[in-house]
């Protein structure tokens, strides 16, 4: 029996290890090289980009203090850090923040979209992976099960790709291989689509096995990884495979906005399926071991979380209601033009809020114990609900078709505000319920070894949320 009780699962992090100067140097070199490559592909001064990349590598190594324990965690740190690096670079000149009109500002930032991709792909990701591999050489690395990662990841990737089967057959729409051009026959496209899905799924399992905890956070990981693949695949590698120079311009990104939403949904499902398979595996072969049994079974926790999630979702729905009414979507929700569309819409909104809250309870339980992290997860929930609700399900129900154009997404931006508010309130109310329970049972809480290992590790929640929220919010604004 493995008992890793070195830290309380509720308290946070381990003591800081000693500085890793060699790792910092390697990260700086990788960052500088990535900067040069990024400047070459996106345009810009190689010297300045190399300096920014080198500084990014150094500050990343210093700021992370060796806490990245594997390549997957490092990649997520790198994606979030790369996004922030771009924000800093694009805002570096005071002219970008003052003295110009907002319209001019949007145009200017659109012109810098290639640098965003360069920061994320050429600087952030390689530096993060380098730091992750370096950190994984330390003694605190979590156990890794390659078979489980590949089987669960591959199966999840395949299952997630099935969501597009209707569009593949009816509309010849293959979001995962968008940008590859006409690959020939229908069968070849399907084969490539599923091969791509399995590749993403397998690597997802390998990279994130030790970071994926619950269904909800796994969704976040899935979305972040899928967005990374959208940048890497359709925006970059596919073009290179066809012998073209990658086109990272905003206009090209706008052309691939439909596949972007497709990738987001693929990532969501990949994360959920992978985490589900992983959870079943853990439940059957780890938690079921009498040596690991807890006083309260997992079923009780799930039911409790369901109830708390309903209450939290209702609270979130009530708080977000005024904004929803303000945007006028409430009446569209009901889909009625009768005498009482508002009342019906409010009722439907509250029912949907309660249901989403219940799903939050089941998906995100045990994820966050402080206001900052649960506000972050709540924001991610709000963003996901925005993509899934107004952007996808609402038009699907009303017209029978999804509208994944950037213009449509931009037009729905006002709803994003109420969804973010809903997510934050729901997450914090749920967390309050959870904390009260943890307070009551803190003296007897005995997580299973697997959970203890996972809970005591530092997970890159903040960079993940920054990357997902940043890309999820910024792209509809810039490309719409």
């Amino acid at each position: 029996m493995r008992r890793t009780a070195e830290h309380s699962p509720l308290s946070g992090e381990a003591p800081s290890p000693a500085p890793d100067w060699a790792g910092a140097l390697v990260a700086a070199l990788v960052g500088a090289a990535g900067g040069v490559l990024g400047a070459t592909l996106a345009g810009g001064s190689p010297g300045a980009f190399a300096a920014a990349g080198g500084l990014f590598g150094l500050s990343g190594a210093a700021g992370l203090r060796g806490r990245t324990e594997n390549a997957g965690a490092g990649l997520v740190w790198g994606l979030g850090g790369g996004f922030l690096l771009w924000v800093v670079l694009v805002s570096a000149g005071a002219a970008h923040l003052s003295g110009v009109s907002s319209l001019a500002m949007i145009g200017d930032v659109r012109a810098h979209v290639p640098q965003l991709f360069a920061c994320v792909l050429c600087v952030g990701a390689p530096v993060g992976i380098t730091l992750g591999i370096r950190g994984g050489m330390g003694p605190r690395a979590a156990p890794f099960h390659a078979g489980r990662a590949l089987v669960a990841g591959g199966a999840s990737g395949f299952a997630a790709a099935l969501i597009f089967s209707r569009w593949m057959y009816e509309g010849d729409f293959y979001p995962l291989i968008a940008g590859l051009g006409n690959s020939g026959s229908h069968a070849t496209s399907v084969l490539l689509h599923f091969a791509m899905a399995c590749l993403i799924g397998c690597t997802f399992g390998v990279l994130f096995q030790s970071d994926v905890r619950n269904l909800g956070s796994s969704m976040g990981w899935g979305v972040a990884y899928a967005v990374f693949w959208w940048l890497l695949g359709p925006m970059t590698v596919f073009a290179a495979a066809l012998g073209h120079r990658p086109d990272w311009s905003a206009s090209h990104a706008a052309e691939l906005f439909g596949p972007w939403v497709g990738y987001v949904f693929y990532g969501l499902i990949l994360g959920v399926v992978y985490s589900g398979v992983n959870a079943v595996w853990t439940r059957l072969f780890v938690d079921s071991d009498p040596l690991n049994r807890k006083r309260e079974g997992p079923g009780l926790h799930a039911l409790q979380s369901l109830g708390w999630g309903c209450a939290a979702g209702l609270a979130g729905g009530l708080v977000a209601l005024p904004l929803m009414i303000q945007t006028g979507v409430i009446t569209k929700l009901a889909g009625l033009e009768g005498a009482t569309p508002l009342a019906a819409g409010v009722l439907l909104h509250l029912v949907a809020s309660t249901a989403i809250g219940a799903s939050y309870g089941v998906l995100f339980r045990g994820e966050s114990t402080d206001v900052v992290s649960c506000s972050l997860w709540g924001s991610v929930l709000g963003l996901i609900a925005w993509y899934a609700g107004p952007l996808t399900l609402l038009p699907l129900v009303r017209t029978g078709e999804c509208d994944w154009r950037p213009e449509a997404a931009a037009a729905l931006l006002p709803l994003l505000v109420s969804h973010l508010l809903f997510g934050i309130v729901t997450a914090n109310v749920f967390s309050a319920f959870e904390r009260s329970r943890l307070e009551r049972v803190r003296r007897i809480r005995e997580p299973s070894p697997e959970q203890t290992v996972q809970a005591t590790r530092t997970r890159p929640t903040a960079p993940l949320c920054l990357f997902v929220l940043g890309m999820g919010v910024l792209l509809p604004i810039l490309l719409g």
Partner: protein
């Protein structure tokens, strides 16, 4: 300089917010007051940081990520509202706020960098780095509860909720059973509807910070304030002494045979889970023997089941046994249905004296229609092997279950407390034992009178639960030097199952001055199940019972014998 950790974090957050607010001000994230917004958000961020430590990179990125929803909520939705206008939530208006979005992300990253650093510096120079641990009292107050029934359990739960968990108070519960028995469903166990374990909640699981001691309370030294606990059921081991400042007596009641030794020897008790299990197994054993018995007279005596007592317990047991015995007949084809009898003997002219006369009559009619025989105005005089003697005749039977009398545990008379004629400890309306400081009694073992009406409180689970909660409040008040409060509770009503999907209910309507509504039949039965399953301790138990009840709709009751009756002294 003394400052609480929370105040320090808020202060540092506010200062950090001010220092980080340049991007907000430059980006015109708010029409005016970017610095003010920065300070307010910084204070909130500082408060939210809590004791969780993050790496510098984690903190920077967390702040940056929070900048995105802050942009949406503060700039897009909030600023107009603050300035008195309706929020501008148009898509184009939001796109025009792109500079503010970048401003918020930069502000968040700076805040995430500065706030933890400033907080760390402040903690170093101003002290109070950690939230102060509550100071534990040098000599904690010791509260010892004797009895793990409804009264004892609810007292412990109430104390856990009310008293601080800082080591200043210790709570100990002593019981000879390691589980709380949900007695209202005991008849369903005897009748084979429910699995025995499903109506019991383990005390160790249900109680979070109460020390549980399994054992029998053997003696109390009121002078030294010591409780002696002997091993449960005379098992091996030595006695243990437990000191107390407050002693709660909640030992419940035991069957009272009024000195009839023969009846006591031959009858089954119906108080504990083991009693219910024994009865069920005994009934199955009788059918097994009857199935191979050729003599009709002997066979008839084997499948005749006598229940003494027409109160709630007796009626529910008789109804359950009648349903069980007739339900398993299909498995015993050599036992004629006409020979199966369930007889209820009651000394009064009507059953269920706790309910109204009409409901009592209804129950009798319904049970008689289902095959239960009644001997009213009849007393049970004696019992011997194969026969019970009544004041009006006799019945040949191998099975007698006793529910006709119960009284407080005789153990209470052993250490000099004043008791009433039933043997219950005399207490005042606050449940304090008269003249004994720090000694309390409640539940079936206490002669408690309602603080408002002056009426005796009945020995039911409904009252025991409320008494436990009230006593926990009184002990808590006592520890704080406040006077205890008298107990008052108006009964919510009563429910009794009389057979398959049939029950009687008398429910007090709230706010009507005690007016009661009567139900019977299927509605009352559904109400009985709904109310009692909701009262069953623990979600897991509720689910198990619901599953049992659902299975019962589709599958016959189990006739597997689970204990060896030759070794446990059955009649």
């Amino acid at each position: 300089m003394s400052i609480t950790p929370l105040a320090r974090r808020i202060l540092c957050g506010a200062i950090s917010g001010a220092l980080s607010s340049y991007p907000l001000a430059a980006a015109h994230a708010l029409a005016s007051g970017g610095v003010v917004a920065g300070i307010i958000m910084g204070a909130g961020f500082g408060a939210a940081l809590g004791p969780t430590k993050r790496t510098p990179a984690g903190s920077v990125l967390a702040g940056s990520a929070l900048g995105l929803p802050a942009w949406a909520l503060v700039t897009c939705a909030g600023s107009s509202a603050i300035s008195g206008h309706a929020p501008e939530l148009g898509a184009e208006a939001m796109r025009m706020q792109l500079p503010a979005l970048l401003g918020w992300i930069l502000y968040g990253s700076l805040l995430g960098l500065v706030a933890p650093g400033l907080n760390g510096l402040a903690a170093r120079f101003m002290g109070g780095h950690h939230d102060a641990a509550p100071a534990a009292s040098a000599s904690p107050k010791r509260i010892v509860i004797v009895g793990g029934g409804f009264a004892g359990m609810s007292t412990a739960e109430g104390l856990e909720d009310l008293l601080p968990d800082d080591g200043s108070v210790s709570i100990t519960l002593v019981s000879d059973q390691n589980a709380l028995l949900f007695t209202p469903m005991l008849a369903e166990v005897a009748g084979g509807s429910l699995e025995p374990g499903h109506i019991s909640a383990p005390l160790r699981t249900a109680l979070r910070r109460t020390e549980f001691v399994r054992g029998c309370a053997a003696g109390v030294d009121l002078g030294r304030r010591i409780l002696t606990v002997a091993p449960a059921r005379g098992g091996p081991g030595s006695a243990r002494e437990i000191g107390f400042d407050h002693l709660v007596l909640a030992v419940g009641s035991v069957s009272n045979y009024f000195g009839a030794a023969n009846i006591q020897k031959h009858a089954f008790d119906f108080k504990t889970l083991l009693d219910a299990i024994r009865i069920r197994n005994h009934v199955i054993e009788m059918f097994e023997r009857a199935d191979r018995e050729a003599d009709p007279e002997v066979r008839r005596s084997l499948v005749t089941f006598v229940v003494a007592g027409g109160g709630f317990a007796g009626v529910e047991l008789a109804g359950a046994l009648n349903d069980f015995s007739r339900g398993i007949l299909a498995d015993y084809p050599r036992v004629p249905e006409a020979e199966v009898r369930t007889v209820l003997v009651h000394s009064r002219d009507r059953i269920l004296p706790e309910l109204s006369e009409s409901l009592g009559r209804y129950a009798l009619d319904r049970m008689a229609a289902r095959g239960v025989e009644f001997r009213l105005n009849t007393r049970l005089l004696d019992a011997e092997e194969g026969k019970v003697t009544l004041s009006k005749g006799e019945i040949r039977t191998q099975t007698l279950a006793w529910t006709a009398g119960s009284g407080p545990s005789p153990w209470l008379n052993s250490f000099g407390l004043e008791t009433d004629k039933r043997g219950a400890v005399v207490v005042d309306s606050t449940m304090a034992v008269t003249g004994r400081d720090g000694i309390w009694a409640l539940g079936d073992c206490a002669a408690l009178k309602d603080g408002k009406s002056g009426n005796p409180c009945p020995p039911t689970a409904q009252f025991a639960l409320r008494e436990g909660r009230a006593l926990a409040r009184n002990i808590s008040r006592s520890l704080r030097g406040l006077p205890p409060e008298p107990f008052h509770f108006d009964s919510l009503g009563a429910l009794c199952v009389v057979g398959h999907q049939t029950a009687c209910a008398e429910i007090t309507v709230p706010f009507t001055g005690g007016r009661q509504v009567r139900f019977s039949g299927l509605l009352a039965w559904m109400m009985w199940r709904g109310i009692y399953v909701s009262k069953l301790p623990g979600l897991e138990r509720k689910i198990r019972v619901l599953v049992n009840w659902t299975f019962e709709l589709f599958f016959p009751r189990d006739i597997v014998q689970t204990i060896d009756l030759r070794s446990n002294g059955s009649s």
